[in-house]
């Protein structure tokens, strides 16, 4: 566009002062309104803009640019989750139903039914920056996970860096300030050995560079903050080349009395931490749009640079101020910057923010830029006037900058002033009435019964699985993270007698409590390609199962849902989402594991010359659990050479979704479904057995199936394994491939002392349970037989070396 050409903004703007504009929108038609939205990068639809116009007609005035930006931030997909609130006409194999708000129907209502059935367990959910569950009578723990996909796609290091920095601030801004105690990271990338010819766009970063940049970003923020990164997962798929997924999560702990917070009139609003600049403008609206090649050039300013030491100082300040009882309300500056933070804080009370008092790090910022800048490392607090001197002392002590932004007044109006003029005056309650979107979704069954493949060389198949990127050790990444800072990591991501074997969940001791907190993650995008319902169910199951296997009480688990979806306007992609949501709701309800927080990220598709490439619908279920006693903590590695092995759970015939099926190109094979009721009965029995001290080690069966689970258990190098599959609980149709490599959910392999096997078997009476084999000092092989037929007999060392070096060679 040439400089002389008149823009829509020029046509309608009235400029009372250099720092803000009044935009005359009342006479514009829908198309012009949409043009304005696009020009200002508001990411608001035509319907949204018409609704805005309507609001201002009622108020009988025109909006300022600041107000429009505030509304755009508030109504953005990123902040408001418009698609999860939409009315969706969902059609499955010709049958239609109307879903009014996925969130309300399947997340909120389901969780509230569980809250009611477990009084006093969930102490806060959905309205704060993170949800809290009760740890003991004094303390509560919380967990929050976020995605930072678009920033990471453009700048992997900075995107992941600020992704983790942001979610840590969520924890600091939860309640009156929770202490961050552990982080998780889950990444979905293209395979690190992707050849350049296979990449459909030249202006994306190669997956290897992506992975290394993202890992370094997480490393440099988490390690410097002194928060152990203890849990994680990796997935690889070609679709993620163009739209990598970067999930970062953090857990926190807080005294129960500090969970509730409220802003009252005549309190002072202060900002603590970093200064405000032009960096990070439009992050919220940016992440609510699709990527294309120009994103890499144009949207650089939407990605910020992190400064973990700035955040560490602010964290020290917030936690010290909380302990002194000086905080009335605190929230973080994330998407939308001050506009979101102050908007949230003053939502019901109202108050005035004076932009002249904001501490700036760049010159010449106009009003809307200051108000929506997403500059990092800022926390916003509401405090009593008389607390200010003591707060200033703390700010000096921890060398962080504290500025007064304004005050609350009880008016219910969010007022923003700048250079003596009112640049924004909004009735906060009106802001949240975004139009409800109407969408269509459809899904049709994609799977079919296939003939079970013949296994010609199961040992080679196992080796091939152990070398698969979906299964290989994440060790090169885990070792770059400090996973033991704070001195509380009891069950580490890699442990067992050799110190490098995989574990199911991670467990943290909590200072000042006898109880511990566990964390785990589950993400299975391959399943969702053909059966999103099965994917959702299996993710809830795997997450819960890992927590239980590691020692958590099955009746005190809470989970989070983080969705990433391509194009929600594509009916099939939205249909896959609806199916997934229904499944996680069913799982949550059956397990009594409520959602306490969640996030969704849409528009994860990339426009290439050959058309858009969308990611597969991806759900991350992350969970936190309570471990009652340190003695219950159970690792996944074999501990003795004179023990016996048993399997809990049924093995089905389905191979769909498995890594084996992907390697063998078994397209559209049926995907295993989860029998929640039977599974949960097993988990409760397992917990009884664990409390009684019957379990030596326990490992969940997940990617790669039973053979991989057994191999991983043996990676502690404590013993050889002798296993006979002929007696395991299974469907009649299950062949050897399904037994060895199928990924039927809800199964756990346990190691017990021989004298305890009978007790355990008695406990599992009526449930799928069977002895599986024994550990031995006679050899160091993984020996799996079917009756008299040897299926696999391989030295554990050789298997381990494939698994251990699978990623290391690319890293």
């Amino acid at each position: 566009m040439s400089e002389t050409e008149e823009t829509i903004l020029d046509r309608i703007a009235e400029v009372p002062a250099d720092h803000y504009r009044i935009l005359k929108i009342s006479d514009l038609g829908g198309d012009e309104l949409f043009e304005l939205s696009k020009f200002m990068k508001l990411s608001l639809s035509k319907e949204d803009m018409l609704a805005v116009q309507e609001i201002y007609k009622e108020w009988d005035r025109e909006p300022t640019d600041v107000e429009l930006e505030v509304i755009a931030q508030t109504w953005s997909e990123h902040c408001k989750h418009r698609i999860f609130g939409a009315t969706i006409e969902h059609t499955v194999d010709g049958e239609s139903e109307t879903v009014k708000s996925l969130f309300k129907t399947y997340i909120y209502d389901v969780s509230h039914r569980i809250f009611d059935s477990k009084p006093g367990f969930v102490l806060s959910a959905f309205h704060d920056n993170a949800g809290f569950i009760k740890l003991d009578d004094k303390q509560a723990v919380c967990l929050k996970a976020e995605t930072h996909n678009h920033p990471s796609a453009i700048e992997p290091y900075a995107g992941a860096n600020t992704g983790l920095g942001g979610v840590i601030r969520d924890i600091l801004g939860a309640g009156k300030g929770a202490k961050p105690i552990g982080s998780l990271d889950v990444f979905c990338f293209g395979a690190p050995d992707t050849s350049l010819e296979d990449m459909k766009a030249t202006d994306v970063i190669h997956p290897l560079g992506m992975m290394r940049g993202v890992v370094r970003g997480v490393r440099d923020y988490g390690n410097r903050m002194g928060i152990p990164t203890i849990s994680g997962a990796l997935q690889f798929d070609d679709a993620y080349i163009y739209n990598p997924l970067v999930f970062c999560g953090t857990a926190g702990v807080i005294p129960i009395d500090d969970i509730d917070k409220e802003v009252k009139p005549d309190q002072v609003v202060i900002s603590v931490g970093g200064r405000t600049g032009r960096d990070g403008l439009k992050g919220a609206t940016f992440s609510s749009a699709a990527l294309d090649s120009t994103s890499h050039e144009e949207d650089q300013q939407a990605v910020q640079i992190g400064n973990p030491i700035e955040e560490k100082k602010a964290a020290d300040f917030v936690l010290a101020a909380r302990d002194k009882g000086l905080i009335e309300f605190v929230t973080d500056c994330g998407a939308g910057g001050y506009s979101s933070a102050c908007g949230e804080m003053l939502e019901t009370c109202g108050g005035t923010i004076d932009l002249d008092s904001v501490s700036l790090k760049a010159e010449g910022l106009v009003s809307w830029e200051i108000f929506i800048s997403e500059s990092q490392e800022r926390m916003v607090l509401a405090v009593k006037k008389e607390s200010l001197p003591e707060l200033q002392e703390l700010a000096d002590l921890y060398e962080t900058e504290m500025t007064e932004l304004g005050s609350s007044d009880g008016s219910g109006i969010l007022k923003v002033t700048h250079h003596g003029e009112t640049v924004c005056e909004l009735d906060c309650s009106k802001l949240h009435d975004a139009p409800i979107r109407q969408l269509k979704a459809k899904w049709s069954k994609k799977t079919e019964a296939i003939e079970a493949p013949v296994l010609s060389n199961a040992a080679e198949d196992l080796k091939s699985l152990l070398s698969d990127f979906a299964i290989v050790s994440r060790e090169p990444i885990i070792r770059e993270y400090d996973h033991e800072v704070q001195g509380n990591t009891v069950l580490k991501p890699l442990a067992g007698a050799s110190g490098d074997a995989p574990q199911d969940a991670s467990v943290l001791r909590i200072s000042g409590s006898e109880k511990l907190m566990s964390m785990s993650v589950a993400v299975l995008p391959e399943w969702g390609k053909t059966d999103p319902y099965a994917m959702g169910a299996a993710c809830v199951d795997e997450c819960v199962r890992q927590l239980v296997a590691s020692g958590s009480d099955p009746d005190r688990i809470a989970i989070l849902d983080n969705f990433c979806v391509g194009n929600p306007e594509d009916e099939e992609e939205l249909g896959a989402l609806v199916e997934t949501v229904k499944a996680i709701a069913a799982g949550a309800e059956a397990y009594g594991a409520p959602f306490v927080s969640g996030k969704d990220s849409f528009y994860n598709y990339f426009e290439t010359e050959d058309g858009p490439v969308s990611i597969p619908v991806t759900i991350l279920i992350s969970g936190m659990g309570i471990v009652d006693d340190e003695a219950h903590v159970t690792g996944a590695s074999i501990r003795r050479d004179d023990s016996v092995l048993a399997i809990i759970g049924n093995t089905g015939a389905e191979l769909g979704g498995s890594v084996f099926a992907r390697q063998k190109e078994l397209a559209n094979a049926e995907v295993p479904q989860t029998n929640f009721e039977e599974a949960f009965a097993c988990y409760r029995k397992y917990y009884e057995a664990n409390k009684a001290g019957l379990i030596l080690s326990a490992h969940d069966v997940s990617e790669g199936g039973l053979a991989v689970t057994l191999a991983e258990g043996a990676f502690s190098r404590k013993a050889g394994l002798e296993v006979d599959l002929s007696g395991i609980p299974m469907d009649a149709a299950a062949g050897k491939a399904a037994m060895l490599f199928g990924e039927s959910p809800s199964r756990i392999v346990v190691e017990v002392a021989p004298e305890n096997l009978e007790k355990l078997a008695d406990l599992f009476e009526g449930l799928p349970f069977a002895a599986l084999g024994r550990t031995t000092s006679e050899h160091a092989n993984l020996n799996i037989v079917w009756g008299k037929e040897t299926l696999i007999n391989e030295p554990v060392d050789q298997l381990k070396s494939l698994w251990k070096n699978g990623l290391a060679q690319y890293y």
């Binding site: 000096d396 060398e399 993270y481 001195g487």
Partner: protein, 246 residues
């Protein structure tokens, strides 16, 4: 009641192991005070028996690790730490604290530079006790394990001979059993001539309990103390040395 010795932990912006290190010190009998560097005065150390520089990333360690912390410490309290040592005080630097003590010249000459791997490394290491007399190590066996977590833990000296001499003199009180990060002579920890200043890269405060070990079946082998980790014995050695020299 017997008066408990006082340990001060210095906290720079970016120091992040202060809480668990204070907890470890309390567990063996110290009273502790964490002092942010902004509040540090020369008089802060009156009546104090032990000064600890805990781990972390002081000022982000974007220039050489510990460099900025050294400059600020000197600006704040001059050579008070040297006087403190000369008057019988004990100093312990862990990880970033080791880097800072080295920068301050309170330990034998050497630099802690980027690991030979070029990576941050978080894992457990085997260590050999090279100086049985060290007041920090008396209760530890000849060989034990601690976790490490650092990017700049490779100890280099002006010449390789210097490092060799440290090993012979016992200044290199702690060495890695295996090659870990490229340290000359596999040095993991140094002490000064008085024996009262000690710096090490590994983190004893992360191994206070046997359950902290990666192997669920690890045991200390000490009768009646099965639940203690090796880190506990470092801090208890220190406590006993401090209380017996008071």
């Amino acid at each position: 009641m017997e008066e408990r010795p006082c340990a001060v932990l210095l906290k720079f912006p970016g120091t992040n192991c202060d809480e668990e290190t204070a907890r470890a010190l309390e567990e063996v009998g110290f009273v502790t005070e964490v002092i942010p560097i902004s509040a540090l005065k020369a008089t802060s150390l009156v009546g104090v028996s032990l000064v600890v520089m805990p781990g972390g990333f002081s000022y982000g360690d974007y220039v050489q690790s510990g460099r900025f912390a050294k400059l600020v410490t000197e600006q704040k309290i001059g050579d008070t730490l040297t006087e403190f040592r000369d008057n019988g005080g004990y100093l312990l630097g862990i990880c970033n604290g080791f880097q800072i003590l080295t920068q301050l010249g309170l330990l034998p000459d050497g630099s802690l530079v980027e690991n030979a791997s070029g990576r941050y490394q978080c894992h457990w290491v085997k260590l050999d006790k090279q100086c049985a007399k060290s007041p920090f190590l008396t209760h530890l066996p000849d060989q034990f394990e601690f976790p490490i977590a650092h990017a700049e833990g490779r100890l280099v000296t002006g010449t390789p001979e210097e490092a060799k001499a440290y090993r012979e003199s016992g200044a290199a009180a702690l060495t890695y059993t295996d090659e870990v990060n490229g340290s000359f002579e596999q040095i993991a920890g140094l002490q000064d001539e008085s024996g009262r200043v000690f710096g090490l890269m590994p983190h004893p405060e992360r191994f206070m309990n046997s359950a902290d070990h990666y192997d669920p079946d690890w045991e200390s082998g000490v009768d009646g103390e099965a639940s203690r980790g090796s880190g506990y014995y470092l801090f208890r050695s220190l406590y006993e040395s401090v209380t017996s020299s008071n």
